[in-house]
């Protein structure tokens, strides 16, 4: 008779697929960001944009004019970009930085998931938050305006479509910025400051330089110009801006995708070492 040590074999268990595993990270990340900062930014955005849109539509319905233009009014403003920037910075700054700083990224990446899944999950979580902030108020305002008879159903639906188109482009753009800047630091505060700093300084610099050089092509690097141009087109209005809306949308989406790819590249080279 011989005695041998037991050999452990994992019991076969049905495992969910890669998408479900990634989605579980998205869910946790969305919940994780449900803190005072992001929620306050979200409430502020919803309150300002919804009220602004509803009031604008109401007065337009009284005095006459383009209802679609009334729906579009807030999105043409610098304030909308600023609100999106606040939401993005509060939601996205810590997305990767927190995990890198605390080294809890190790807990995820020592599991059978790919770095691509991890970054995609983080991107999705940020994107969903920004999308809710970008699209939600417009949808509510459209619903309220249609319900109260200030706007026709077709105008309200067009407004929802416009919000969705602009919201998607904005979400991709800001998600990319958040991921890229959150991947280069271990502190979410630095990432947050960097998100504000980079966006505002590039916007200001481009405005000044394009004004001096009278080169309209430079405006494609200006967030406000791009957003205004896309908003006009998304709401079905003739654009008075020098930038082409399709090109503006392409620039913003491409910027977001490239920056997200840079974040992935950065993480693939980062090594989670001790403080």
């Amino acid at each position: 008779m011989s005695i041998s040590a037991p050999r452990y074999v994992q019991a076969p268990v049905a495992r969910v697929g890669r998408t479900s595993r990634t989605w579980s990270i998205v869910q946790r990340e969305i919940r994780r960001r449900s803190t005072w900062g992001p929620l306050l930014a979200m409430v502020l955005t919803w309150f300002i944009i919804t009220l602004w849109t509803v009031v604008s539509v109401f007065f337009t319905s009284l005095v006459g004019g383009s209802i679609r233009a009334a729906f579009e009014t807030p999105y043409e403003s610098v304030i909308w970009n600023l609100l999106m920037l606040i939401v993005a910075a509060t939601v996205g700054a810590g997305s990767l930085a927190d995990d890198i700083g605390s080294r809890s990224i190790t807990l995820y990446l020592s599991r059978p998931i790919h770095l691509t899944d991890y970054v995609a999950a983080k991107a999705s979580a940020i994107g969903i938050w920004i999308l809710i902030a970008a699209v939600g108020p417009g949808c509510v305002a459209a619903g309220v305006s249609a319900a109260l008879g200030w706007a026709s159903v077709s105008d309200a639906l067009a407004a929802v479509g416009g919000c969705l188109a602009l919201g998607l482009v904005t979400a991709v753009f800001f998600t990319g910025i958040c991921l890229a800047l959150s991947s280069v630091t271990r502190r979410s505060l630095y990432a947050g400051v960097a998100i504000f700093g980079v966006v505002l300084s590039v916007t200001a610099a481009v405005s000044v330089i394009s004004g001096i050089t009278q080169n309209a092509n430079l405006l494609y690097a200006d967030l406000t110009s791009n957003t205004q141009s896309i908003a006009e087109a998304a709401f079905g209005l003739p654009s008075p801006y020098p930038t082409d809306p399709a090109a503006s949308a392409a620039v913003m989406v491409l910027t977001g995708v490239v920056l997200a790819t840079l974040a992935w590249w950065r993480l693939s080279r980062i090594e989670v070492v001790g403080e």
Binding site: Q10, S104, L107, R111, P112, V273
Partner: protein, 309 residues
């Protein structure tokens, strides 16, 4: 027999600093202790095994797979990092369940396994509390729970007993022994030899990024014991204590480093610890504290490292 983990001349640099310096060792089945002083390279090795670092040179495999990367074989590996950082906004139950979901378990399966793992580490009562309010020992235990919840074949525990109270240590040691008895392989690191000694006879000693000794603990102990050990004693009457100890063969020297303190050098610490209680009772001398300077293994590792040069 090939090892569960095999390292061949693994080198890892952090810029100018060498984390591992040609580390070669074979970790066999069952429990293997990885013992070394702080800064020896234990956590670097664990991060390499967890796929979080890539070796600069050499070859490192676990369960036959290259350690670098996030392949599906990771399902067969459980990793408990030394870092106390957790997802503080989660409850203990959420934490374990979330990581099980990332492992690919369905929602209900993850919930069941999470409950079982938390029970194993005696955290069921605190499972609903947020991790930010957990004590250091509880954090250690919840980290171990996430590490074993998916029934891994190979379990990597980096300083698992650090910060755990004596009762918790005994319970976790029992858990490790049970896991090993069921056929799983464990690599348990510690900077305290005596901690690992209670778990296993198989150890790998690491210092300055190199494996300085590996194999059966008793052989390594013999090696260590061939060198005199320093033991500090605290007593209201150190001279009386010195007189009593002076007759012991294995005591090489006695000195009084400070009032109320006696430092002895012994060739047989095991005999010393075994016979000291009898001596105290027989001679009526008072010993307020016993500290082995060699409990901090720095000295031993320095000795072994020097022996290799």
């Amino acid at each position: 027999m090939t090892g569960v983990v095999e390292a061949e001349a693994v080198t890892k640099r952090y810029g100018e600093v060498l984390g591992l310096n040609g580390f070669s060792a074979t970790f066999s089945e069952g429990i293997t202790g990885l013992v070394g002083p702080n800064g020896a390279g234990k956590s670097t090795l664990y991060r390499l095994l967890a796929g979080q670092l890539k070796e600069d040179a050499g070859r490192l495999t676990l369960l036959g797979y290259p350690a670098w990367g996030q392949g599906e074989f990771r399902r067969r590996v459980g990793y408990c990092p030394e870092s106390p950082a957790l997802f503080d906004w989660m409850t203990g139950r959420d934490f374990v369940t979330t990581l099980l979901r990332v492992d690919g378990f369905s929602r209900s399966e993850a919930a069941d396994r999470s409950a079982r793992a938390l029970e194993e580490v005696d955290l069921t009562a605190d499972a609903h509390r947020r991790l930010r309010v957990y004590s250091k020992g509880m954090r250690q235990r919840v980290k171990i729970a996430q590490c074993i919840a998916h029934d891994p074949e190979l379990i990597l525990l980096d300083e698992p007993l650090n910060g755990v109270d004596p009762v918790g240590r005994a319970a976790l040691s029992g858990l490790m022994r049970r896991l090993s008895a069921s056929g799983r392989h464990l690599i348990v690191s510690s900077h305290v030899l005596y901690e690992v000694e209670r778990l296993t006879d198989q150890i790998v000693m690491i210092a300055n990024g190199q494996a300085i000794a590996q194999g059966d603990l008793h052989r390594i102990r013999d090696l260590i014991d061939s060198r005199p050990h320093v033991i500090d004693l605290e007593s209201p009457d150190p001279r009386a204590l010195a007189r009593a100890l002076g007759g012991w063969d294995h005591v090489v020297s006695l000195e009084f480093p400070a009032p109320g303190h006696l430092r002895i050098l012994t060739r047989s610490p095991d005999s010393f610890y075994r016979d000291l209680p009898d001596l105290v009772l027989r001679e009526g001398v008072t010993v307020k504290a016993v500290r082995s300077a060699d409990d901090n293994l720095d000295a031993v590792f320095r000795y072994l490292s020097e022996g290799r040069r």
